[in-house]
């Protein structure tokens, strides 16, 4: 069974074509880091796959089916900056949103749902902040709330858009522990990532992306100097030499 299969995917952003001929098949239970320079189309790739951004061509199948039929099995953690953190609500409420699909439309969350949400917050080390206004959380705490919201969804495939950008060290550790736990529970996780130095520690698979896939495979096989330079262009100094 395939978890996620992408064929001949192309997409444009405003006037520019940012993705062309993207083809890949994701191994179930893998933890993939998607890396590439700015403007390589990393976020766009996630959005196009999730049908949040239109594609020009191509086919994306989830669990050998369509996204519409498998929505409940797919979780998405958008970039932290994509929402308005001044919105008047608390951390628990945001986590509860992850359960809305399960609760059903136009129904109110039950006590059990609230307990599930609290548990997810606790897993992210945020139990004490359940009633805190989201506007009063630090960037790292906001990111952990987002992760907790994804956890309660109990999906089988997760997409995360730069969850480690601008967070403190404690949050980074908490998030990576969670991702590894998801992986050992058999979930498939794809993470847009920026920091080349941590790729080998964090991900067992890596996708090198620059408008199309340069390489995709096991980290120890494809995360090489040549491939990274091919992705980023010649300007990048290979950190192992530094």
């Amino acid at each position: 069974m395939s978890v996620l299969k992408v064929e001949d995917l192309s997409a444009s952003y405003r006037k520019n074509k940012v993705l062309s001929d993207v083809n890949f098949n994701v191994k179930p239970g893998s933890l993939t880091g998607i890396i590439g320079p700015n403007g390589a189309g990393k976020s766009t790739l996630l959005k196009v796959m999730l049908e949040l951004h239109p594609s020009l061509s191509g086919k994306v199948s989830f669990f050998d089916s369509t996204l519409a039929k498998t929505k409940r099995r797919v979780g998405y953690v958008p970039q932290r900056g994509s929402v308005d953190w001044d919105f008047p609500t608390n951390a628990l409420d945001v986590v509860l949103m992850g359960l809305y699909g399960k609760i059903g439309w136009f129904k109110w969350p039950s006590k059990q749902d609230k307990e599930l949400a609290l548990e997810a917050l606790a897993q992210m080390g945020m139990a004490d902040y359940a009633d805190r206004q989201i506007s009063q959380l630090s960037g790292g705490q906001q990111q952990r709330v987002f992760l907790a919201r994804a956890l309660v969804q109990d999906a089988d495939l997760y997409f995360m858009d730069e969850p480690l950008v601008g967070v403190d060290a404690a949050t980074e550790t908490a998030i990576m522990t969670t991702l590894k736990r998801l992986k050992s529970a058999g979930k498939t996780v794809m993470v847009v990532h920026h920091d080349l130095l941590t790729v080998e520690d964090y991900f067992d698979h890596v996708m090198l992306l620059n408008r199309t896939i340069v390489e995709y495979g096991k980290t120890d096989e494809v995360f090489t100097k040549d491939n990274v330079q091919k992705t980023y262009g010649g300007s990048l100094r290979w950190m192992k030499e530094a």
């Binding site: 998405y76 958008p78 994509s82 136009f106």
Partner: protein, 308 residues
Amino acid sequence: MLDIFLSPNAQWVLFSTLILGTAAGMVGCLSYWKRQSLMSDALSHAALPGVVIAFSILGYKNLPFMIFGAAVSAFIGAWLIQLIRSSSRVKEDAAMGLILSVFFGLGIMLLTVVSRKGGGNQAGLDSFIFGQAASMVRTDVYTMMAVAIVIIAVVIIGFKEWKLFLFDPDFAKGLGLSSRLMDGLYLAMLVLVIVIGIQAVGVILMAALLIIPPVSAHYWTMSFKRMLVLSAIFGGGSGLLGTLISTMGKGWPTGPFIVIASASIFLVSVLAGTQRGLLVRALQLQLQRKQHRLESRPIPRQPVKEGK
């Protein structure tokens, strides 16, 4: 004076502006968090040409038909705003300002033409600019209340969905909540509340009933639910109060009084609001200072050590 309030017709009018204000306060709260407060202003101005055209087609005042005209014209305005924004480099606020003034200018122009050639019947048309709740007849009141109640129900039933849609539309879409549906529903409610409000409040000032209540409510609470409730109460309250005052004089327009009532609530909220009010903030600072003084024990001051 009191006999005005006792007449059943006046009571109905009062009740209808109360419901209208409540619905406007709720829809305004959605607009506020969609960061589209100005949109309501643009759309209410954009409704005027439709009202006038509907009137000149029939030749007499017929509320349902004029509401229809207003809705068509407001939707065209909304569509043009989207079109300008997506097909040119013009930003949304500029697009709204453009549509607002062009449609209002067009409306006034048509109004002048219609009143030049028409008979005495069009006198009531002026009330669509500043609002004249007293000129409403029983069927107008029924139409208004029915639409307002539907809007209130849609906001309450979909409360959880509205919250998700306003906070994180992409995530909502991921869960299967169509943002096209929610956007369409929101726009429909906005246009409907505007068109049922223009006879009572007028096209120029309708925005006040949509913008001021949520802004005032935000001074009192940090919860979306309570903000929605407060915004509804403030909107309903200003509708009621403004109409009440305007019925005291003969031919007084309703809109301006509703705006003043709404603005008074805003003023009180800015000063005394429990979350962001100026007085509360000053008081908190005083208390903290006092506590700080009490907590820091008077210890003999050490001489400042100079680094060498």
